[in-house]
Symmetry: C2
Subunit: 361 residues, 2 copies
């Protein structure tokens, strides 16, 4: 039960101007898009009566993996509880919701903002979801949104100057050399293998897992990913700062954002390889159908910052430069308003619903 050593950091805690709780309404809107689909899948696939009758307990246990500090997780858990309830109006199970994120997540802030009128028992289970977090066969529904695209760590070889996969001058695999792409993809596969194995052990037969993450269309070359404009300009800002002596060039070269963006084909392959889940639904969606006007680039970058700032600070150890860095990114991206708006309307959200098969593990 030892946590993996992590290069990714939790979302910003607290409730300040750069906190995740204040800068996550885009993610809320992204998840909002799938709400109807999740409700459909629960109606069709989540047999509350059967799940309760096959157990001596009267409790339905849910987990949100990568919950950050709210409020999106509360909103999501409540609509899922409501959907399960309306599935079986004649029984009244207890609900217990486990909020999960890395051990260093700001759980104090999460607890202080727990909705007082929730109708579930709230608990937290801190730790890496790439390992076991819960007892055998104890969860009935697992939800994870905008978390599993974070790798458990940056692949070692992309930080190693002597390696063919060295990623100097870039901060991501998008647009990078083939060795870098392979290293990222390999790490994602290994992470998902551990993720699915752990969930298969923790979930009851018939239990449902909802997975939402960044995604890309099948067979798109990594250099063509819509997120390239963001990662390229983040890298350009860092390189400029290194040239001006604000950051160390070696540190910029060794900095890599541990995010991998899978396509449905890859995800399907990993789920089938694990073998414990049936795929009830897997698709790509456009997350920003709600976005009618042009995106405000500052607001958008503040959302990215709330989720990613910790990863920068952990690497560069220069908290005082973080405002400067994000200001430079905003300035650079402001030159491409149309391109950014176009990208935000591409299908960059992977949505999957799995069902734990009914075999004995």
């Amino acid at each position: 039960m030892k946590g993996a050593s992590l290069d990714s950091c939790p979302a910003n805690g607290g409730h300040g101007s750069h906190s995740y709780s204040k800068n996550s309404h885009y993610q809320k809107s992204f998840v909002d898009i799938v709400r109807i689909k999740v409700e459909e899948e629960i109606k069709e696939n989540f047999n509350t009566t059967h799940l309760i009758s096959s157990s001596s307990s009267n409790t339905i246990r849910l987990a949100d993996l990568g919950c950050a500090t709210g409020p999106n997780t509360f909103w999501t858990m409540q609509y899922i509880v409501n959907a399960i309830k309306s599935n079986s109006p004649n029984i009244s199970p207890n609900f217990q919701v486990f909020f999960n994120d890395q051990i260093s997540n700001d759980f104090n802030a999460l607890f202080l903002s727990l909705p007082p009128d929730r109708d579930y028992f709230a608990a937290a289970a801190p730790g890496s979801f790439h390992g076991r977090l819960f007892p055998d066969s104890s969860l009935h529904l697992v939800h994870t949104a905008y978390s599993i695209h974070w790798l458990s760590a940056v692949p070692e070889e992309v930080k190693d100057k002597r390696s063919a996969a060295w990623n100097g001058g870039r901060i991501h695999y998008i647009g990078a050399a083939e060795g870098v792409v392979e290293a990222y993809a390999g790490r994602f596969s290994a992470d998902m293998e551990r993720f699915l194995k752990a969930r298969a052990e923790e979930m009851v037969g018939g239990g449902i897992m909802v997975m939402i993450c960044l995604g890309v269309c099948d067979d798109v070359s990594p250099s063509q990913l819509p997120f390239r404009i963001l990662y390229d300009n983040l890298a350009f800002a860092l390189i400029d700062m290194a040239k001006e002596g604000l950051l160390n060039e070696d540190e910029v070269d060794s900095f890599n954002i541990p995010i991998f963006i899978p396509c449905p084909k890859k995800m399907r392959k990993l789920i089938e390889k694990d073998g414990h889940f049936s795929i009830e639904r897997i698709e790509l969606a456009e997350p920003a159908t709600w976005l009618k006007e042009n995106v405000d680039i500052r607001v958008w970058i503040n959302h990215i910052r709330a989720a990613m700032e910790g990863t920068f600070i952990q690497h560069f150890k220069k908290k005082e430069l973080i405002d400067e860095m994000f200001e430079r990114v905003i300035k650079k991206l402001s030159n491409y308003p149309e391109e950014i708006n176009e990208k935000l309307h591409e299908k960059v959200q992977l949505f999957a619903v799995l069902k734990r098969k009914d075999d004995a593990f």
Copy 2:
């Protein structure tokens, strides 16, 4: 599921010089004294095989109510898990431990110090233990140490100048007017009623509850309690500070520490009134048998401070005076070294082991 409004505050968070985690080795020693008794009771009364076989789940769920920030809770939960394991060497249940304390407890500090080599799944369930925290019939063992003597709130009437139970010039019921004593005792009874009702609903039949709290011998007058020397000198320090204009006199008058110290007779009566638990053991113990030399009054007061400081700060809103206040208490108590050492060797620890009866709730 709304938390009660609380006048008591959680123990000091973090890991600084006045944190509970750095100033709780006395409590550790106090609980150490009961370890052998708890192990005996688990051996005799906790039928792991039966509890597992009567459930479709392979999980034993434990809760520590009022866990503070560690490390005592980790040490206790581990020895209890070990005791349950050695009860039934032929089965290998999963263990899930729920750490509970008030919502404002420093759970971040608790999570960061979770023992990496624990052999249980860790979770937290924040909230007041005077209400429900867990699903129906979901807990197999509940432990609570040095928590249930904290009242859910100071009784309103002791803060009310117009009431016969007004407690001006004192900060506790010990040595106070009869109306004050009754108000405190009434609140404790109501709190324990809610506590026992909630636990009866949450625990499985055959489940065990270990309760450790401050205690006093049956039929001792409240004015004779061993803790009087501490509370009187705390009050004297506050009154001095009010006289010197450092604190407001009305605020000193309205300050009351929400702790009640029950005797076994009272506790037994409350448990029998609830009716859902059999009393396997109830006794008073001397918690400081390990104390061979004279107590260091500064170390002792630092322990009191780590647990109680928040309650003072919440009331007086003068964090900057807290050092001054405790220094004055240390100075005052240093005049009574023999009396204090004598008091610390009295039987001031109530220890009870209950078993949830096997009826349907």
